[in-house]
């Protein structure tokens, strides 16, 4: 069976190999299945038999009961459906921010790594500056003043967290560009653009992929923090905002803040578990020692 796959489709085979190794990591597996559940909810929540998360017609402060598994909040909205709808916001902010940060990170990182010299020096300086500024405060200021629509939050988080991706990409490119197959490309005269985007970046895609999963996790936490300070987008259901409104009623109706918190932990933990397992698999160290869980 293996030999057949190998010859048929090299691309597909590479990821099957990755899956075989990923299977050995129990933590990663748990994370993966948890994440599947969250993704399923996020995608199919409109079709699930839920009440409207925005409607305020229920009675406020109802404790968890059969009709309202997670109870109702201070305005009489059903928390269970809001938690499920909230997955959409968090995941879209998480993936959006990670996408922005990866794109900018890859661009800057590969340019700095490949071109080197003055440009590398300049880009590294820029990266240092960004790492210098405490990201959370900067995002807080921008979102507080310039506006808090969900796309805006995505963009701002992405634009302030790209340096870490850039650093990884740069390191990866530096190590790859010495390889013979890159010299071969130079010799046959292919353009820098082609070398970068056809050879260098695709070959360093796996560590970038693993790192961006971890970035999705941290972006979700960041968005939750912002919404907790009341800065989230009002037109969407956001877990952070639910906790924010829940804090005032922690003493009598604990469930308002409790369940969105659990949802954040589950989603972020699943992403961290997957990301961590991927990083361990893809790091050269583990391959050599052949140490498997």
């Amino acid at each position: 069976m293996k030999s057949k796959l190998k010859s048929d489709n090299n691309f597909f085979y590479k990821y099957l190999l990755l899956w075989n190794r990923f299977k050995n990591y129990k933590g990663g597996l748990i994370g993966f299945y948890l994440f599947l559940v969250v993704i399923f909810i996020a995608l199919f929540v409109p079709f699930l038999p839920l009440c409207d998360p925005y409607s305020i017609k229920f009675q406020s402060f109802l404790p968890p009961s059969f009709s309202h598994p997670f109870g109702t909040d201070e305005m009489g909205r059903d928390i269970f459906s809001r938690v499920l709808w909230g997955s959409r916001t968090s995941l879209s902010v998480g993936f959006g921010a990670a996408l922005v940060s990866s794109i900018v990170g890859v661009l800057f990182g590969s340019l700095a790594g490949y071109v080197g010299g003055k440009l590398d020096e300049l880009l590294s300086r820029i990266i240092d500056i960004f790492l210098m500024i405490p990201a959370f405060f900067l995002i807080l200021l921008i979102v507080a003043i310039y506006g808090s629509s969900i796309y805006y939050v995505m963009l701002v988080i992405g634009l302030t967290t790209w340096p870490s991706t850039a650093r990884i990409v740069r390191a990866q490119i530096l190590s790859l560009k010495e390889r013979e197959f890159i010299y071969a490309q130079k010799v046959i005269g292919s353009s820098t653009f082609r070398i970068l985007f056809v050879h260098l970046i695709p070959n360093s895609i796996q560590p970038i992929f693993a790192n961006s999963i971890l970035q999705v996790a941290s972006a979700i936490l960041l968005e939750a923090g912002l919404s907790f300070l009341g800065l989230g987008d009002p037109n969407v259901v956001s877990w952070g905002k639910m906790i924010y409104s829940g804090t005032s009623y922690i003493f009598t109706s604990w469930w308002i803040a409790f369940f969105p918190g659990i949802a954040i932990v589950v989603t972020v933990a699943s992403l961290n578990l997957i990301g961590d397992a991927l990083v361990t698999i893809l790091s050269p160290k583990t391959e050599e020692r052949g140490a498997y869980a």
């Binding site: 933590g27 405490p134 959370f136 923090g225 829940g246 961290n272």
Partner: protein, 322 residues
């Protein structure tokens, strides 16, 4: 001597970076829509009064001019006066630094040792059931939002069990002095410190565990094994000493965020630290105060990086005797 110019180059780099960070911050804040003067003047203020307020705080001058004058002031160590607190920004911040440090410093130190201890315990039986279970639990703890954890701790210990106070730094009714005050503040700081420490333990655990596992398979370990040394003394004498550097470096790097890291926890626990000061500054558009806090936090971050370089030379002979 090689040391001198290394230090010089590094600090020049540092100053340059802080300088640029400052300019970026200044532009982001001052290009923001909204006019602090109107905000300060209050609702019923007439146009004339708003003009007067703008003029007093020099907000009518163009941005480049204000930027230059601000930078000149900063070079002389004068961070300007806060619009809202009518005090010099430097001593406003100076008052809040010890309060925040009390929380963040103690919690990072606790987290460092707990993380290290846990890593030492589990990594000796690397890839065993226990090791994997603990690292997965650590990953889950790492995913808990700090403000939510703080809230839950207040709910359980503060309200339900009434063991710990639910807010503030000191119980006003009995503001004793000396030992009583310290005890009182310590008592109030237990929950925030526990919150901050819990979410940082996974960071140190992970870096320590991975380094120890790596070092345990190095050649010198088999050399000493063949020399007849017991695995436990090899671990204590050699593996640990070799695995110390990465966790310590991560600790030093995290020191950089010691001033800005606890904002959310401060808000939940009503703790008068830097985080809350910045939040109130942002909401009341207190530009000098915001700039001052950014400057201080940026400097601490770059100092932490600088400190990491020095740590490297101290702890790793390979760097010291290049």
């Amino acid at each position: 001597m090689e040391w001198k110019d290394y230090l010089l180059r590094r600090s020049a780099q540092l100053l340059l970076t802080v300088f640029f960070a400052l300019i970026i911050n200044f532009l982001i804040i001052n290009l923001a829509p909204g006019d602090p003067a109107a905000l300060m003047a209050g609702e019923l203020a007439t146009k004339e009064y708003i003009e007067a307020v703008r003029e007093r705080w020099g907000l009518n001058k163009p941005i480049p001019e204000r930027l230059v004058s601000y930078l000149l002031n900063v070079l002389q160590g004068n961070l300007g006066y806060s619009y809202t607190y009518l005090q010099s920004v430097s001593n406003l911040i100076a008052e809040r630094i010890p309060v925040t440090l009390l929380l963040t410093l103690t919690s990072s130190i606790i987290a460092f040792f707990v993380g290290l201890l846990l890593a030492v315990k589990t990594s000796q039986k690397a890839f065993s059931k226990v090791d994997l279970f603990v690292s997965n639990v650590m990953l889950t703890i790492y995913s808990i939002p700090s403000f939510w954890l703080g809230l839950m701790l207040i709910g359980i210990f503060g309200v339900a069990l009434r063991i710990f106070p639910t807010s503030g730094m000191v119980n006003v009714r009995s503001t004793g002095s000396g030992v009583f005050l310290i005890l009182d503040i310590a008592y109030h700081s237990i929950l925030p410190i526990v919150t901050l420490a819990t979410i940082q333990v996974p960071i140190y655990y992970k870096i320590a565990r991975n380094t120890i596992v790596e070092q345990s398979s190095e050649d010198y370990v088999s050399t000493f094994l063949m020399a007849g040394m017991s695995t436990s003394s090899i671990f204590k004498k050699y593996v640990l000493r070799n695995s110390l550097l990465p966790p310590v470096t991560v600790f030093a790097l995290h020191l950089g965020y010691v001033l800005s890291g606890a904002a959310l926890v401060e808000v939940v626990f009503g703790w008068p630290g830097m985080g809350r000061l910045l939040l109130s500054a942002v909401y009341s558009r207190d530009y000098p105060l915001i700039m001052g806090i950014y400057l201080v936090t940026s400097i601490t971050v770059s100092l932490a990086n600088f400190f990491v370089d020095i740590l490297y030379t101290l702890l790793d002979p390979r760097v010291r005797y290049k």
